[in-house]
């Protein structure tokens, strides 16, 4: 097990280095001139050259690369040329808003996806199955930004049940962050009103973000459960008079959980990616919105920072899934 763990972790480190190389290459094939952008629209030639020296853009590429890697090692993601602020600071500020949104959406996806998957496998080709198939199919095809707009239109604007966008009302001043997750912080401080407010802003974006994830979990879980319920040991258990509930919830679900776990890990990475659309629709102050506004301004340090953070999350999720797989399934460790 230890050997498997070490090998898998080493692979993750190699991948991370590769990802750093990839972002460096992307930033450097860009046809636009970062120095000109940094110097501002009215800058003369001398000021642009000054900016080029200030940002180290006049050095040879390999030197720039070494500097890029060592800076990243110190947690320095460079400076946004549009705002002048260090990207690391911005990322630290925005990341927890995204994390909170993704955690709630993932919880929704798992809590609804697995039971619905089990139900539709148990009642295969009955109305429950047909109903969940509609969720599974449309969950992947619905454009998240359009679904978000429809919810804003229906539930927030027309019915007025929930706020339209943002993370908190502009009049609410959240206290200094403890974990950065508003729901957790407000509970730690015992501030029920703030918790309720944060939750009311979170519900709609979390629903939109969770839908594709819910659809995937549901699909995988259903097909694995159908497979598992056909297995010989299930027939044997039934013949022994094991209760139907126990057969489904223990014997079959256990076998269906490994592939479900894999899709959850994969979906965590994708969620961090599609959060870009959801955050744009709901003005959610996370890394997705930050990446988009920077990309439109042609400011790539923030975009590369977000790419690294999302890629890192994706790799970590895959690593965790692989390790869990190794822990739960001895055949994989041996291979």
């Amino acid at each position: 097990m230890i050997r498997y763990l070490v090998r898998r972790a080493a692979l993750a480190v190699v991948m991370l280095f590769g990802l750093i190389c990839l972002t460096f290459v992307i930033a450097n094939v860009a046809p636009s001139d970062a120095a000109a952008l940094a110097a501002g629209p009215d800058a003369g030639r001398a000021q642009i050259e000054q900016a080029r020296r200030d940002y180290g853009l006049d050095r040879p590429l390999h030197e720039q690369f070494v500097r890029y890697v060592t800076d990243l090692g110190r947690g320095d993601f460079g400076r946004s040329v549009a705002t002048g602020r260090p990207v690391g600071q911005d990322l630290a500020k925005y990341f927890f808003a995204t994390l909170e949104l993704c955690l709630v959406a993932m919880t929704l996806g798992i809590l609804l996806g697995i039971p619905l998957g089990v139900l539709s496998a148990v009642f295969q080709d009955r109305w429950v199955d047909h109903g969940t198939r509609i969720i599974a199919v449309s969950g992947i095809a619905l454009p998240p930004f359009w679904f978000g707009l429809l919810l804003q239109l229906g539930i927030a604007s027309s019915l007025g049940w929930l706020p339209t966008s943002g993370r908190l009302s502009v009049f609410t001043e959240p206290a200094a962050p403890i974990t950065g997750l508003l729901l957790v912080d407000s509970l730690l401080r015992g501030n029920g009103a703030l918790f309720a407010e944060a939750l009311s802003y979170l519900i709609l974006p979390a629903i939109v973000l969770s839908l594709p994830c819910l659809a995937s979990i549901l699909r995988v879980n259903r097909s694995e459960m159908v497979e598992a319920l056909r297995a010989d040991h299930i027939t044997a258990a039934r013949a022994h008079g094991v209760s139907r509930l126990r057969i489904v919830a223990v014997h079959a679900l256990k076998n269906a959980m490994l592939p479900t776990l894999a899709i959850i890990g994969l979906r965590w990475g994708w969620m961090m990616s599609s959060t870009v659309l959801v955050e744009t629709v709901f003005d959610w102050p996370g890394i997705g919105l930050y990446a988009v506004s920077s990309a439109i301004a042609g400011d790539f340090k923030p975009v590369m920072g977000v790419t690294l953070i999302v890629g890192l999350n994706f790799m970590l999720a895959n690593l965790v899934v692989d390790l869990l797989y190794g822990a739960l399934d001895p055949r994989i460790r041996e291979a």
Binding site: V137, I140, P144, Q152, I263, L277
Partner: protein
């Protein structure tokens, strides 16, 4: 596979029939678009301010936009662009990815390692974020958005082609072909490629839908097509500024994105059941 069996399987499944109908509708709109639109002048963005932001009516079924263009007209014309881009992206990605994948799967050794590691690298960042990074570097616009999405999409085809090539390489009939004196190239072209075709068709059908969604997403974010190009995602991005009072503006383009993605997904599902029944669904 026999044609009769294929038609039987097709007709048995409601989902596949629905998918086929939706795809047929989108293709028909794309082909006939310029000839059936009610207001051909509105295609490139004629300005007709006295008529702006009209609610749906007999004259304008889905209302008009902020410069007085008929929304139905612009959405129908948008089908052509979306379908073209939706087909071009997976096609280009497959043209890059499939040869590389077959090469990796048959060559083995250092070459295989090199190809597959680069592939893994591109797959280590979720697609949309990587596409945004590429568009940020290349600059916004529909052309660059397409390039970015092709660069994001090809590694999936390498993976698929490599796994198929690896699996087929060990089959006895390949060995027989080699023993009969067939060249490597002939084996690849006559045996490996045709045997990889079914999963490839299924993947491409699914990917057309996903590519339509991706290009609309970039358009919505302001990184893809620019107005007045009649692109669905870009239209929704403008319509967003006119919510909630002018709600009809956002409804129609979004519904068509949904219909086309749904159509290609369902069709892909159905094709998989027909062509590739043993594969894992996910």
């Amino acid at each position: 596979m026999r044609v009769g069996l294929a038609i039987h399987l097709l007709r048995r499944s409601f989902g596949t029939m629905l998918g086929l109908a939706l795809v047929a509708m989108i293709v028909a709109l794309a082909l006939a678009g310029p000839f059936i639109v009610p207001y051909p002048d509105d295609v490139q963005g004629a300005v007709n301010l006295t008529n702006k932001l009209q609610p749906p009516s007999a004259a304008h079924w889905f209302g008009t936009d902020e410069v007085g263009n008929d929304i139905l007209t612009r959405v129908i014309i948008g089908a052509r662009l979306s379908l073209l881009v939706g087909i071009a992206i997976p096609l280009a990605a497959a043209l890059i990815g499939v040869p590389l994948g077959i090469l990796a799967g048959t060559a083995g050794g250092g070459l295989r390692e090199a190809i597959m590691r680069v592939t893994d690298l591109f797959l280590s960042v979720p697609g949309l974020v990587l596409a945004i990074a590429l568009v940020a570097a290349l600059g916004p616009g529909i052309g660059n958005a397409m390039i970015a999405l092709i660069l994001v999409w090809w590694p999936g085809y390498v993976r698929l082609a490599e796994s198929k090539a690896l699996a087929i390489r060990e089959e006895p009939f390949i060995e027989a072909a080699r023993a009969a004196g067939a060249t490597q190239l002939r084996i690849l072209w006559r045996h490996v490629l045709p045997n990889s075709l079914s999963p490839l068709i299924v993947k491409m059908s699914m990917d057309i839908g996903q590519a339509i969604l991706a290009i609309a997403s970039l358009g919505f974010l302001g990184l893809g097509a620019k107005p007045p190009t009649p692109e669905w995602g870009a239209m929704i991005s403008i319509a967003r500024g006119y919510l909630p009072d002018w709600w009809w503006y956002a409804i129609c383009p979004g519904a068509l994105i949904y219909a086309s993605v749904l159509g290609f997904n369902l069709l892909g599902d159905g094709l998989r059941d027909m062509l590739d029944p043993r594969s894992n669904r996910g």
